[in-house]
């Protein structure tokens, strides 16, 4: 099986992508969304015609609002998301929004999310990701508990966890890199998408592992002596059609969602798409070949 034979190449590709992602996480300073960092949201309604986005942005440029986002809401409103601003700053911002008093507007809403609420959500997100990873690894170990030869069941768990790390890091890196161009933020929906990717990727990996499990059982019943390389390789080959087709159907719906779906879930869908691609790659080119590597390592010891 080609994939097994040239596994080092595929590992290298993954490692390369993971390194780029880690680099981007540490050096590109991803922007945290209001969910996590806390911040203010101001909504204004124009009594006459609403000015264009560019007109307003020009006025806002001179203010030190950092990474703000301005979006139209209903027919006559703008919503401005900024770092947490105080009342004084708010007055200045409102003045800018009214184009220095040229347009009459009413403040519809001013809302500040304290950093405490944001921080609590942030720690909850870390916990959620850890819980999912641990639960999945335990489950994989449990599901493959009857398989102990030639590779112990916990090693299926190890292969899964490496694939999971890959599936979290690569979409995160891509999101951060591209996020610089379309203003993507790390918010709660981002974490949600990551968790959904985890679920999907393991789902994919388990299907291949399940075939390995079945093949091992049949081989031992027939007292057939097959190398582990071959068992994994054949299992991969047999499940390849399914892996590609399922990923394709998921990919199709996500493409529809990305191009037609709501603006509010577009970034979310983007991460899901990168995650589905990364997850499919890791199930085929990473998790299963890793099983073979783990087996080889084990042999060396004895």
């Amino acid at each position: 099986m080609t994939i097994i034979k040239y596994r080092r190449i595929f590992f290298s590709i993954s490692l390369f992508l993971v390194l780029i992602s880690v680099f981007s996480i540490f050096f590109l300073k991803p922007v945290l969304g209001t969910d996590f960092s806390g911040g203010s949201i101001l909504e204004v309604s124009y009594l006459s015609d609403r000015p264009s986005l560019d007109e307003v942005k020009e006025k806002l440029i001179s203010l030190s609002l950092g990474n703000y986002s301005l979006r139209p809401s209903s027919d006559s409103n703008f919503i401005l998301r900024t770092r947490e601003i105080n009342d004084e700053e708010k007055t200045i911002v409102v003045n800018a929004l009214s184009l220095d008093g040229a347009l009459e507007l009413s403040e519809e809403r001013f809302n500040s999310i304290g950093p405490v609420v944001g921080a609590s959500l942030k720690s909850k997100s870390y916990k959620a990701i850890s819980v999912v990873v641990i639960a999945i690894v335990l489950f994989v170990t449990f599901a493959f508990r009857k398989v102990s030869r030639p590779v112990a069941s916990w090693k299926y768990g190890v292969a899964t966890i490496i694939a999971l790390a890959h599936d979290i890091l690569v979409p995160t890196g891509i999101y951060i890199i591209f996020g610089r161009y379309f203003g993507a933020e790390i918010d709660l929906l981002f974490v949600t998408a990551l968790l959904a990717i985890l679920g999907y990727s393991v789902h994919d990996t388990i299907v291949v592992f399940d075939r390995v499990r079945e093949r091992l059982r049949i081989n031992s019943q027939l007292e057939k002596n097959e190398s582990f390389d071959k068992t994994v390789g054949e299992s991969l080959r047999q499940t390849m059609g399914r892996s590609i087709n399922t990923s394709l159907t998921v990919f199709l719906v996500l493409i529809a969602l990305f191009f037609i779906g709501s603006e509010s879930t577009r970034n979310f869908t983007f991460i899901l798409i990168t995650g589905i691609v990364a997850g499919t790659y890791s199930s085929i080119f990473l998790a299963s070949p890793l099983l073979v590597t783990l087996e080889k390592l084990q042999k060396k010891k004895f």
Partner: protein, 448 residues
């Protein structure tokens, strides 16, 4: 084989039935409307931190529930349809550091007004019946109106030490016991002494919660409210009294408002995306898997209808992220079908007879379907825990989707496929059951 045909007929009936159930009536309203999140219909969300530091740990739950009831009553003033007031307890289950009260007001946009009406800590008061109204009917169903018949007294919740449910030792009937503190004891003794026979109404947040009649002077500060109560009524009353005696101050932590237009656009584009996603998957399944693909599409239609019905019946809140989750689940729902069909193709490739291959295909695919779906369910549960409403919506639609898809992909597909009853194997059947580019190979196998 016959039973599969009966099964298929039943499933088709279910399909049509669900279709009618979900179809909105002509004016656009449905008898069973979906529950949409604030991000889709517009509205206001307020999150309060509840300070329970002066409460005994075992009383916190009851007090928060009573607080929720009070807040719900205050909201009713707005005339908001289907407001939601939820408690989120601190701790490991919610992951919060403090107890929270979450108020959702769909369609309501005046945050200031909402803040003002909801923001105050509820007050418990004892009010005395006005003179000259001796024949007050305390069983009057319009309790709100009786407020006019009472005057305030000095006695408020702060003089109440605690209240509990007691069961009469002889009759077994439940009643409420009140214990006042030393200051309250004096005031209560004076009120009861001077007003025997009158009603001393207990008001929480301006609304009467109990209208007992003073039977005699009570000097020791230990009072009872008796009457023909059910145990539940007594329990509710005690909760409210305790909330009044030890108020739970609330503080606004964050607010959120979404305009209806914005939400409406999000809903529409979500639905259109869903339809396109569905069509793309259906076309792919038909082209690649042919007859089984058609069965998978029917199963997918049933899947969609059953899931939507579950959302509808269990009043699962549909958010923008929830719609995304559901659309994602449509893509994943055919996975079980794909697993089965790929397996079927392999079995056919090994030269098995069609019926045997079908049986084997379903049987062998089951283990991987089961195991692989568990991971998605784990994710859905954790996401639900993480949940702000948007994330909860996603978790629920994904979780429900996975469970329903296991049923539709396996049971429904099997029923339909076996109902088709292909006994004779010929080029047509092998074409219909072939997939992708495998037509020639499997046709050859059969003719060998």
């Amino acid at each position: 084989m016959n039973k599969y045909r009966v099964g298929s007929a039943i499933l088709l009936l279910v399909l049509v039935g669900l279709g009618f159930f979900l179809k909105p009536s002509q004016n656009g309203d449905s008898k069973f409307p979906f529950k949409f999140g604030l991000d889709l219909v517009g509205g206001t969300e307020l999150i309060y931190k509840a300070d329970v530091s002066n409460l005994e740990p075992e009383d916190v739950g009851d007090s928060l529930e009573a607080l929720r009831d009070v807040i719900e009553r205050r909201i009713n003033v707005f005339g908001v349809s289907e407001p939601v007031v939820q408690i989120e307890r601190a701790g490991i289950i919610s992951g919060n550091r403090e107890d929270r009260l979450i108020v959702e007001l769909p369609g309501f946009k005046n945050v200031e007004e909402a803040k003002e009406a909801l923001g105050e800590t509820p007050l418990l008061e004892f009010r005395l019946q006005k003179d000259g109204l001796e024949n007050l009917n305390t069983t009057d169903p319009h309790l709100q109106a009786v407020e006019d018949f009472f005057v305030s007294t000095e006695l408020t919740g702060r003089f109440l030490k605690r209240s509990q449910v007691i069961f009469d030792q002889t009759t077994g009937d439940p009643f409420v016991s009140l214990e006042f503190n030393s200051e309250g004891k004096e005031i209560f003794a004076q009120i009861t002494k001077e007003n025997i026979g009158k009603v001393l109404g207990v008001f929480l947040d301006g609304a009467p919660i109990s209208l007992p009649i003073i039977q005699s002077e009570i000097r020791d500060g230990n009072a009872q409210i008796t009457g023909s109560f059910t145990a539940q009524e007594v329990k509710d009353l005690v909760k409210k009294l305790n909330l009044g005696s030890l108020p739970v101050p609330i503080e606004l932590a964050s607010t959120q408002t979404v305009g209806a237009t914005l939400g409406g656009a999000a809903l529409n584009s979500g639905i259109v995306a869903g339809i396109w996603g569905f069509l793309l998957v259906a076309i792919f399944m038909l082209l690649w898997y042919r007859l089984p693909g058609l069965v998978a599409v029917v199963a997918l239609v049933l899947y969609t209808l059953i899931s939507l019905t579950v959302f509808n019946i269990f009043k699962i809140t549909i958010t923008a992220a929830g719609i995304a989750g559901f659309i994602l689940s449509v893509g994943m729902a055919v996975d079980a079908n794909i697993l089965i069909f790929e397996r079927l193709r392999e079995e056919l490739g090994e030269g098995k007879k069609l019926a045997d291959a079908m049986r084997e295909g379903f049987h062998r695919a089951w283990l991987s379907i089961r195991d692989s779906n568990v991971s998605s369910i784990i994710t859905a549960i954790v996401l639900f825990w993480l949940g702000t409403p948007a994330v909860k919506g996603f978790a629920l639609t994904l979780g429900v989707g996975v469970l329903v898809s296991m049923f539709t992909a396996i049971t429904v597909s099997r029923t339909f496929l076996f109902a088709l009853e292909f006994k004779e194997e010929n080029k047509i059947s092998s074409f219909l059951f072939g997939s992708g580019f495998s037509k020639v190979i499997s046709a050859n196998k059969v003719t060998e």
